[in-house]
Amino acid sequence: MLSFEFILNALVAGLLLGGFYAALSAGLSLSFGLLDVVNIAHPAFILFGSYLTFYVNEHFGVDPIIAGLVFAVPAYFVGVAVYRIYYNSFEKTGAESLRGLVFFFGLFFLIEVILIITFGVDYRLVRAFYIGKSTSIGPVGIAFRLFVPFLVGGILATVLYLFLTKTFFGRAIMGVAQDSLAVQLMGVDPIRIKTVAFGIGIATAVIAGSLLIIIGPVEPTIGREYIGRVFAVTVLGGLGSMTGTLVGALILGVAESFTSSFFGPSWALAVSFGILLICLAVRPSGLFGR
C-alpha cells in the first residue's frame, strides 16, 4: 500500500486541495488578516458566488471560471457597500468587536435566506468540459475538476501578493494594517484604503465560489462547513500574510490528503486542526505572521 506512486498521488491530491483552500481563504486574509475585520460572512459570499455561477452556467452555458471573474466586478462594489455600512455603524463608533461580529453573522444568515428563496434548497451543480475528466503525468493522476481550482487559487494568491507588495495601493493596505495613524499622517485616507481592500476581499470570495461549485454540489447552507477551515488557513499562515495563506492552505490540504490516504479519512479534520493548534502553541503569530 505504501508505494511511491501512492505517496506521490496523495501529495498531489493534497496540493490541489490546498490550492482550492487558498482561493477560499485569500479574501479573508485581506479582511481579517490585514484589516482586522472579522468577516464571518466570508463563506456566505463564497456561496453567493457559487449560485451566481450556477445561474449563468445553467441558463447561458457560461464557463464557471469566466462567470466567477465577471461577477467579481459587481461583487467588489457590494464589498465596498458592506464595508461602508460596517464602518459607519460599528467601526467608527468603536463598537466593532462584538456588534460588528453580530453584523457579519446576520449578514451570513441573510445571504443564506436570500439563496434559499431565490434558488430553492435543492443541490446545484455546474457543467464544464473539464469536469469529470482527468489526465496522468507519469504515475500521477490529476483530475481537472481539482486542478482548475488549484490553478486559479494559486494565480489569485500570487496576484494578491504582487498587488500588496509591488503596487502603491497594495503597500498602502499593508501600511494601514501596520499603523493606520502613520498612513493618515502621510496624507492617505485609511478608510478609503480599507474600503477598497474589503471590496477586493469580497470579489475574491465570489471567484472562490465559482471554484467551489466546480468541485462539488452546493446547497444554501454549505457555507457553514467552510467557516472553520478558512479561518484556520488564515490563522495558520499568519495574519496579514498572503504567502502565509497560500502555504497554510497547502499544509492543511496535504495534511488532509495524507491522513485520508494512510490513516483513514475520519482523522483528516482532527489532524488539520491539530496542526493549527501546535503551530499556534509554538508560533502564536502563525507561520508568516509578524
Partner: protein
Amino acid sequence: MGRIIRHVILGFALLLAVSIAFTPAAQAAKEVKIGFSMALTGPLGPAGKAALLAMEIWRDDVNAKGGLLGRKVKLVYYDDQTKPANVPGIYAKLLDVDKVDFIVSGYGTNLIVPALPIAMERGMVFMGLFGLDANAKFKYNNYFQIMPAGPDPIVDWSVGFFELAAKQKPRPKTIALLSADSEFARNAVNGARRNAKKYGFKVVYDQRYPFPGTSDFTPILRAVKAANPDLFYVGSYPGGSVGIVKAAHEIGLEPKLFGGGMVGLQYTAIQMNLGKLLNGITNYWFWAPEKTLKFPGIEAFLAKYQKEAPKQKLDPLGYYLPPFAYAYVQVLGQAIEATKSFDQAKIGAYIRNNTHSTVVGNVKFGKNGEWATSRTFQVQLQDITSNKMSEFSKEGKMVVLYPEEFKSGNLIYPYAKGK
C-alpha cells in the same frame, strides 16, 4: 312591549351563536392537526421540502373528500434545519402550544430519534419518515416507519447488494466499505459489514469520512483502489455521493460491483449533472418508473407533484422520497377512518395489525414498527446516454434487480462493463 324585548334578546342570542360558530377558534376545533418537524433547510432540506409538498398533496386529497371523520386536515410544521438539537423543542411546542392531534416525524434517522422519546412519553402514534432502525433501542410499539428497509433494517437495507454479488461467477471475494460519519450512513455500513461476514466477503478497507467537511474524495478512493476490492459498498449523503462518483471515474476505480447505500443518486438534479457517470452503479432505490412498480395511485400522485415541484424549485421528478412522504400520512389517515376514532391506542393497534394499501404498494408493519418484510430495491443505472431530465423518467434506465418479485431487468456485471 315585553314581546318586542323578548324578540330583540332572541335575535341577539342567535346572532351571538352564529358568530361564535364561525369564529376561527370554532373552525380550528373542527380541524385535525398533524404536527411535525421537517428539514426545510440544511443538508436534508431539498428532500425535506419535497416531502412537505407530498404531504400537502395528501392533505388536499383528503380534504377534497371531506377530511378525516368529517374534520379537515391541517398540517402544522416547523423547520428543524436538519439539526437534531432543534427537534425536541419543536415537538414540545407542537404538543403543548399548538395542541396538535397527531404527530409524525421529520425526514431522516437523525431527526426521528430525538422526537421518539417525546412520542413515547405522550403515548402517541408516531409515523416515521425514512428512519434506519431508529426504534431499535426504544422498542416503542406505536412507532411505524415507512421506508421499506425491513424487520432488521440495518442488515436488510443492504442485503440485496450482497445477494446480487453472491450470485456472480466467479464469486467476488473482497469488499471495501466507506461511510459518511453520521448516524444513517454508519448504520447502513454496519449492516453491510454484517452482511459481508454472512456472505463470506473479506473486508479489505473499512473507513468513515467526516460529514460534513470532506471536500475531495480522491485520496480516499485512491486508498480504496490500493486495497483492490471486488466490491465497493458506500454509505454517503448527496454531496459526498457526487464527489465519490466523480472521483471514482477520475482515478479509474473499477470494482466489480459499486454503490450500495449512496443517498442523492436518486435526486433528479444530481442525476442530470452526473449523466453517463451513473451507468453501471448498483444502488438502493425506492421507486423508479419501471413496469413492475406501478402501484395504485402512484402515477396520479406523481402527476400532481410534478406539476407543483418546478414552481417550488424542488426535485422535478420526485421519485425518491415524495411517494413515501405521501404514504406515511396516508397510512395514518386510513387508520383514523377505519377505526372511526382519534384514539391513539386504537389507531396504533389498527396500523400494527393490518396491511395498508398505499401509493408505494401494500405496507405491513412488523418488529419495531419497520416493514414486516424488506422491500429495498437494488437498482442498476443502465444505458444513460445524456444529461436530460427525460432520460431519467424513462423505463429501462433504473433497472430493478432485487427483490426478484419486482425485477425488471438483468445486472450488467462487472461494473466496468456497465459504465
